[in-house]
């Protein structure tokens, strides 16, 4: 019988985990249930952090926020917007891409380590995260880091917890370093570039002093044409100045057929970058979605290797370092082709979804070097000795009864 456990406090959540530990009974951990990413977790009991909800502390003058793990991302984004601040790493909303409903929780964002386009300038979720509280696989309540943005007291388990998909512990509270929300945004738009030319242009922009906060390339926009996007954010005059300078800098690099313009309208900018952030172009379309993390200049080579063998379409973010790939086939052969292309150069590929219904596949994560895999496996065993937390999700071996 499938059942859903929804403890309403950290203490009762810990109690629940302790009972499961005693009985060696595995659980699937969910926040908002919006991210079925990773290998399928084959268990009957689900543990939700949904009722651990609320902002514990928000000090705009200190750029700090602490919230319970089940607080929705929306609640947090709204509270921050009121003070003109935001989470710097631009967390994505993959509901449309994954075909899921519901609301992302902040704990889920952290557990999945989700970062948007601004990662190239402001860092990833792990860079904004400054403290965690979590319940280990033995039901111990553990804290690490805190609410101050500079802290090297003991090991940095904060980073380790971020992106661990609930396999090391159940997050109960997370703390962030915030930044002022930019007052203005401008985007340099270039049309008609092939992938290699686009990534060269993005590199040039990111290597300029004009503080680029987004650098993406879409092989096919709504009209089927390639578009390259470079974002600046900040005080209005400064944005105007920097997008202007970027235009001058990049113009000589472009073929004559390319289009070059600057978008200054706030709503249009918001739409452009939401589309990149949430990978909207692939939402609702048939096929598997892969997420490749590579050296930026390798992005186009990896994609051209793959497209020689498989039908695929790419969206490049992070200046080329993050490649979203929509691939026709979801079989093992496709996985072999994609992973081989990545392995030839370094980096890794994650199967983000199997099909338009958002089903996850097996072996979602890239195989790791044996010693690194052993270290990760041993860490999980230390945090979760009975292997009861999201068993198998990251490819780790299942429960040892």
């Amino acid at each position: 019988m499938a059942s859903l456990l929804k403890p309403d406090s950290e203490a009762s959540l810990a109690e629940t985990v302790r009972e499961h530990f005693a009985r060696r009974k595995p659980v699937r951990i969910v926040g908002g249930g919006t991210r079925p990413v990773g290998n399928p977790v084959d268990v009957t009991e689900t543990l939700s952090t949904g009722r651990l909800s609320g902002i514990t502390l928000y000090e705009p003058g200190a750029l700090t926020l602490v919230a319970e793990a089940g607080t929705t991302l929306e609640t947090i984004t709204d509270a921050l917007a009121e003070e003109g601040q935001h989470l710097p790493f631009e967390p994505a909303d993959y509901c449309a891409l994954l075909g899921t409903k519901g609301k992302s929780t902040i704990g889920g964002v952290v557990a999945a380590g989700v970062s948007g386009p601004r990662r190239v300038q402001a860092g990833a979720a792990r860079d904004s995260l400054i403290g965690v509280r979590f319940v280990s696989g033995e039901g111990e309540i553990i804290k690490n880091g805190g609410r101050v943005m500079k802290n090297v007291t003991g090991y940095d388990l904060v980073k380790l917890m971020c992106g661990s998909y609930g396999t090391l512990g159940v997050l109960t509270e997370v703390s962030f370093k915030l930044l002022p929300r930019p007052q203005a945004t401008g985007t340099v738009l270039i049309t008609g570039l092939d992938d290699h030319a686009a990534v060269t242009v993005l590199s040039r922009a990111l290597g300029s002093p004009f503080d680029v906060t987004g650098a993406a390339h879409l092989q096919k926009d709504a009209d089927g044409n390639p578009v390259t996007m470079i974002r600046c954010e900040g005080l209005p005059e400064s944005v105007k100045y920097r997008t202007g300078r970027l235009k001058d800098l990049l113009a000589p690099l472009l073929p004559s057929a390319a289009g070059l313009s600057v978008e200054n309208v706030a709503e249009s900018n918001a739409a452009i970058w939401k589309q990149v952030r949430d990978v909207e172009t692939f939402a609702g379309r048939d096929g598997a979605v892969w997420r490749l993390s590579v050296k930026p200049s390798d992005g186009p080579d990896v994609v051209s290797d793959i497209s020689g063998k498989l039908d695929c379409e790419a969206l490049y973010d992070w200046g080329g370092g993050l490649v979203w790939l929509l691939v026709d086939a979801a079989d093992d052969e496709a996985a072999t082709v994609i992973r081989a292309a990545v392995d030839a150069r370094g980096g890794h590929a994650t199967l983000f979804r199997c099909n338009a219904n958002g089903e996850s596949g097996t072996d979602a994560f890239h195989p790791e070097h044996p010693r690194i895999a052993a270290i990760s496996q041993n860490l999980r065993r230390q945090f979760d000795p009975a292997g009861i937390l999201n068993p198998g999700l990251m490819g780790q071996s299942a429960v040892q009864a």
Binding site: R119, V152, I375
Partner: protein, 487 residues
């Protein structure tokens, strides 16, 4: 008696010195091993000079393979290993024991690859922090974390301590600028974590290696993010007649949406000491001084400084002096950067490094002054105001019996105060031996146990920098049991 104790050296190891030295020499050559007691003396301490102990021997390998060979020997023989960068740790992170082998990275100091299109450099870990920026400056790039010790400190030390700098409000600290490491495990296996891509494939091991204080493995190479230099930067000097006012001004600047790259705070004792030492032109009749720096083009700098001046004006500053030239900017920074030197000239000092929520600043400074009176020791404060990282410098006289102990007790009280108001024991210097036994004030047993379990994974025999970070009592069974097992 001083507060910090080190474990008793293992006599059995010391008695095997000749055999150990021979094995190390066979592995990396005689010129790579220092064992003459007169020469090992140079490695007896780091910048926490109150504690000294020469190691059994020092190895200075030239390659990752040599590091691997050394570690295999140490692992087989059960010898404690102390990784060492440049020895500028203020926490005693590189302090040896008499039975330990120091492995220094001084000879691993090359840039291996600079890739400006992808914005990274691959370096050997013994290169100094400043040399990294120096190497890429010609192409208009820099390495962002800038500890005051950057002329001397090594990248490996920065990684071990997750070091910060004055500009981390905008650019982050070491961990935010580190893409990958090559690390030799205690058993000699060489692994690469991270690389030239941005995200980890699985668990974020790089994230937990950074800041692990040399307890997980010897880092021999690193891939570092480099950033394009801004078009320009300019500081403004703001003087206030009360710490509280300066503190409120900092919060107001942050809330306004301007993001300065640095906001440095100095209290009156620090201002006077720095001014006397560096002649930076600081006003000596104010209670608190802020250095706020912004970056960008001329117009962008002007736009930001106008906003900052408007905010500052609401707090009745005694002094508001914008730099008008590179020379003036350098002078403004010169005073701040000379702070440690200035203190060193006046007296011996201990540099503390707690962090507090910035909102608690005035209260903490006030209580620190009260403690200063109680202990009868002077304290000066320079710190990174944007992020709440305090550097109280406690002045004492090393020749006066009992003064160091009093100073340490005062320091411990300050750090406990930091924790009490919601902050932490160390913002950038690390725990080392200095704050090891204070860890129980910030973390409970379960918090510490899980951290020690992480070390168990990387270094099951607890041979790497074993007597650091954790309270001696807490780590006792692990160090003890494993030493026995290895023998």
């Amino acid at each position: 008696m001083s507060l910090v104790e080190m474990p008793k050296a293992d006599g059995a190891i010391i008695s095997r010195k000749a055999e150990i030295v021979a094995a190390l020499q066979a592995a990396i050559g005689t010129d790579g091993v220092i064992h003459d007691p007169e020469e090992t003396l140079a490695y007896e301490c780091d910048a926490l000079t109150a504690y000294r102990c020469p190691p059994l021997a020092v190895c200075l390998p030239r390659t990752t393979q040599e590091v691997s060979a050394i570690l295999r020997i140490c692992s087989d023989m059960g010898l404690p290993v102390i990784p060492r960068g440049a020895g500028t740790s203020l926490a005693g992170g590189a302090l040896p024991t008499a039975d330990s082998i120091v492995i220094g990275v001084a000879r691993l100091n090359q840039v291996l690859e600079a890739d400006y299109g992808n914005r990274f450099v691959r370096v050997q870990a013994g290169i100094t922090n400043l040399a990294v920026s120096g190497n890429v400056a010609g192409e208009g790039f820099f390495y962002a974390p800038d500890p005051s010790s950057q002329l001397a400190c090594a990248i490996s030390g920065n990684i071990a301590m997750n070091s910060g700098g004055a500009h981390c409000l905008k650019y982050g600290v070491t961990t935010n600028n580190l893409l990958g490491v090559t690390m030799v495990m205690m058993d000699g296996e060489v692994i690469e974590i991270g690389g030239t891509h941005l995200d980890p494939a699985g668990l974020d091991l790089l994230g937990v290696i950074c800041g692990s204080e040399g307890q997980f493995g010897m880092v021999t190479e690193a891939v570092l993010k480099i950033l394009p230099k801004p078009e320009g930067a300019r500081p403004i000097l703001l003087g206030f007649n009360a710490n509280e006012v300066a503190g409120t001004c900092v919060a107001d600047i942050i809330k306004s949406g301007v993001l300065p790259v640095a906001m440095e705070f100095m209290d009156k004792p620090a201002i006077i000491a720095c001014e006397n030492f560096a002649h930076a032109g600081y006003p000596t009749d104010v209670e608190a001084l802020l250095i706020v720096e912004v970056e960008g083009s001329e117009a962008e700098i002007a736009e930001q400084l106008e906003k900052i001046k408007a905010i500052a004006a609401r707090h009745d500053p005694e002094v508001m002096r914008e730099s008008n030239s590179a020379v003036q900017s350098d002078l403004i920074w010169k005073g701040r950067k000379a702070a440690f030197g200035a203190m060193g000239q006046m007296a011996d000092y201990l540099c503390m490094d707690g962090t507090i929520p910035t909102s608690r600043l005035p209260e903490v400074l006030k209580r620190m002054q009260e403690m200063s009176v109680d202990y009868g020791l002077r304290v000066a404060n320079v710190f990174h105001a944007g992020d709440g990282n305090l550097h109280p410098l406690i002045l004492f006289d090393a020749n006066k019996p009992g003064d160091l102990e009093k100073c340490e007790a005062f320091g411990a009280d300050i750090l406990k105060l930091c924790v009490e108001v919601g902050g932490c024991l160390t913002g950038e210097h690390g725990v080392g031996v200095e704050k090891r036994d204070l860890m129980v004030h910030q973390y409970n047993e379960a918090d510490l146990e899980i951290q020690m379990r992480v070390k168990d994974v990387f270094d099951p025999k607890w041979l790497l920098n074993p007597a650091k970070v954790f309270p001696m009592e807490a780590s006792h069974s692990r160090r003890h049991g494993n030493r026995q097992e290895a023998a």
